[in-house]
């Protein structure tokens, strides 16, 4: 296993994710300009007054990128939290319950997976009108199926394990069994699913904002900025390059972090050290 390389990649990924969150949190402090303010200079190339230039109507690109991080990360992470929560509960219940419960849950998953995610999102947005919150909820409600399948598979593999049968034989309540003994065994799976989904969801948010269906002006978003750059990117390359690079880097960073977290969180690995170090609770 290329562990040192993998660890380094995960560290880089993690650092980028932390940086992105820092940028998002401290955007009001870090931004040199008001992201919605029109400056005199339009389409100014990167330079000493505007480090990353200005756009067609004279807004500071750096400030907009910093505030755009808020939209991308918040929408992406919230949507994933929603998706993971639903998926985990559905997967646990389906895997444990079996029979009819399982059949109904898994056929619903199949049904939902048959629809392209963006199509569903477009449909809902066409009906309710575009907004960042709606995008979050829609991406959350359309993203849980893979997690449900993974968690279900994990529960099926675990439910007949001797320690689960033994715990039942001494009277452990099912609720606690699922929550305290099955769920922790699924952590690795869930974390990997979540981080891979984060990359995807951030990308989906960018796509929807690019189409003008996500974050609405005057709020900044990376997808929206790409859209605004469409007409002029041949001459004003900085308008397309910086948001594009940020989307790419953020997505890759989340994926690298996910791989690293899986190795680290896997309950079957390296518990000995913590036990030997351990103090009483």
């Amino acid at each position: 296993m290329p562990s040192s390389l993998g660890r380094r990649a995960a560290q880089v990924g993690g650092a980028i994710v932390v940086l992105a969150w820092a940028a998002a949190l401290f955007a009001p402090i870090l931004s040199p300009y008001d992201p919605a303010a029109f400056e005199r200079m339009q389409l100014a190339p990167p330079g000493s007054t505007h480090w990353l230039g200005t756009d067609e109507i004279g807004r500071d690109v750096l400030s907009r990128l910093l505030f755009g991080a808020r939209s991308s990360l918040l929408v992406g992470w919230l949507a994933v939290v929603i998706a993971i929560s639903i998926g985990t509960v559905v997967g646990l219940v389906a895997g444990w319950g079996g029979g009819v419960v399982d059949a109904v849950a898994m056929r619903s998953v199949d049904l939902l997976l048959a629809f392209p995610r963006l199509f569903l999102a477009l449909l809902v947005i066409a009906f309710w009108g575009p907004s960042a919150w709606l995008v979050t909820v829609v991406l959350g409600l359309t993203g849980w199926m893979t997690t449900a399948r993974l968690v279900r598979a994990q529960v099926l593999a675990l439910r007949d394990r001797e320690f689960i049968v033994a715990a039942r034989a001494v009277g452990m309540p099912v609720r606690r069994l699922l929550w305290r003994h099955l769920l922790p065994q699924c952590t690795g799976t869930i974390v990997v699913a979540a981080t891979l989904m984060l990359g995807n969801t951030i990308l989906a948010e960018s796509a929807l904002s690019f189409l003008g269906l996500g974050v609405q002006v005057p709020d900044a978003s990376w997808g929206g900025m790409l859209n605004e750059a469409r007409g002029v990117w041949r001459s004003a390359w900085w308008l397309a390059l910086f948001p594009g690079v940020l989307i790419t880097c953020t997505v890759i960073a989340h994926n690298l972090l996910g791989d690293g977290l899986r190795d680290w969180l896997d309950p079957r690995m390296s518990r000995i050290e913590s036990a030997e170090r351990g103090n009483s609770e």
Partner: protein, 336 residues
């Protein structure tokens, strides 16, 4: 070593009565009847040994009593009365409250029966909270007390270990502690000492006998090891092909076995003080649970079989004080 306890307050009422228990699994080859009318009783604070070869249904008996038969298997008929309550009629939640609090089960290979990613002390504490009605704050301390009770050296250190760090003997002691968490009236020990080395086996048996007399707990000791049964159990039931073929006081069953299968089992075990050099293995195999015959299931392998054994299925008959056997043949015809 197992002194009979004083008479319980309700002498006539057995703690556990299993009657005609039948458990079946649907399969591609037809219905597999893994339990075919298991019947036995167990008195309060008494120990019953359940012996038989692999696949005879010993473990399935334990799982059927507790409602833990893995699907698609099902208990299809029979009765399991525990303290007068019919367990087979209880709902899942009521049954769960029986498990741990009234009846606890421990398995062979203790270390596989713990959550691999949780410190064992935390697992004992969790169980104390859930089935032992211990307050959350006191649970950790009581868990260490319980580990001390099963004679684990340095219990507060053991409490912080993960299952894979325990030796087999330590693991079985922790398993006993967990089984005791709900103060059960019956402990089912399914091959609880098998697979451990001999001195550890003896220690585990000793520990169980100790807690048993201390807590006036009955025990169903399931084992293929006749020696351990003789050590632990005051009564013994011999299983074959999903039924009990002989039951009675251990001394009688092992001293004067009636059923040809019991005799075969006794001859198949190694001893030091006999002149016989080779063990007598029993030829053939038990009938498949999908193809149980209408006549005696032991017929094919029986050294004492007669023509009528192929015509009828023997019912249980008494052959001595509390000694019953399901065999048509009179044992005087065979040497034992």
């Amino acid at each position: 070593m197992n002194a009979l306890a004083p008479m319980p307050s309700t002498p006539s009422l057995a703690l556990l009565e299993v009657e005609g228990l039948r458990t079946e699994f649907p399969s591609a080859e037809g219905i597999a009847r893994v339990l075919d009318g298991v019947t036995f009783t167990l008195a309060r604070a008494d120990t019953l040994g359940l012996v038989g070869e692999s696949g005879s249904g010993k473990t399935m008996t334990a799982l059927s009593i507790l409602g833990l038969v893995p699907p698609p298997g099902k208990v299809t008929s029979g009765a399991v009365r525990f303290e007068g309550t019919e367990l087979l009629k209880l709902g899942p939640e009521a049954l769960r409250r029986v498990r741990g609090r009234r009846i606890a089960l421990i398995f062979q290979e203790p270390n596989g029966t713990f959550d691999p990613v949780m410190q064992v002390g935390a697992q004992v504490a969790e169980l104390l909270r859930e089935v032992g009605d211990v307050e959350t704050r006191a649970a950790d301390r009581e868990a260490v007390d319980l580990l001390r009770k099963v004679h684990l050296p340095d219990p507060s250190r053991v409490a912080r270990l993960y299952p894979h760090q325990l030796s087999g003997g330590m693991g079985q002691r922790v398993a006993v502690a967990m089984a005791l968490a709900g103060r059960p009236k019956l402990l089912i020990a399914d091959e609880a000492a098998s697979g451990l080395d001999l001195t550890i086996q003896a220690q585990i048996r000793e520990l169980l006998s100790e807690v048993q007399s201390e807590r006036r707990m009955a025990m169903l000791w399931i084992s293929h090891d006749l020696g351990s049964v003789a050590q632990v159990a005051s009564r013994v039931a011999v299983m074959y092909a999903g039924r009990i073929v002989e039951t009675g006081p251990t001394r009688r069953v092992f001293g004067a076995p009636h059923h040809p299968y019991t005799r075969a089992l006794l001859r198949a075990r190694p001893t030091l003080d006999r002149r016989r050099r080779s063990l007598e293995a029993l030829a053939g195999a038990a009938p498949l649970p999908t193809r149980l015959p209408a006549h005696c299931p032991f017929y094919d392998r029986c050294p004492a079989r007669e023509e009528r054994c192929r015509q009828e299925d023997p019912i249980e008959r008494s052959v001595g004080p509390a000694h019953k056997v399901r065999c048509l043949v009179d044992p005087s015809s065979g040497a034992s």
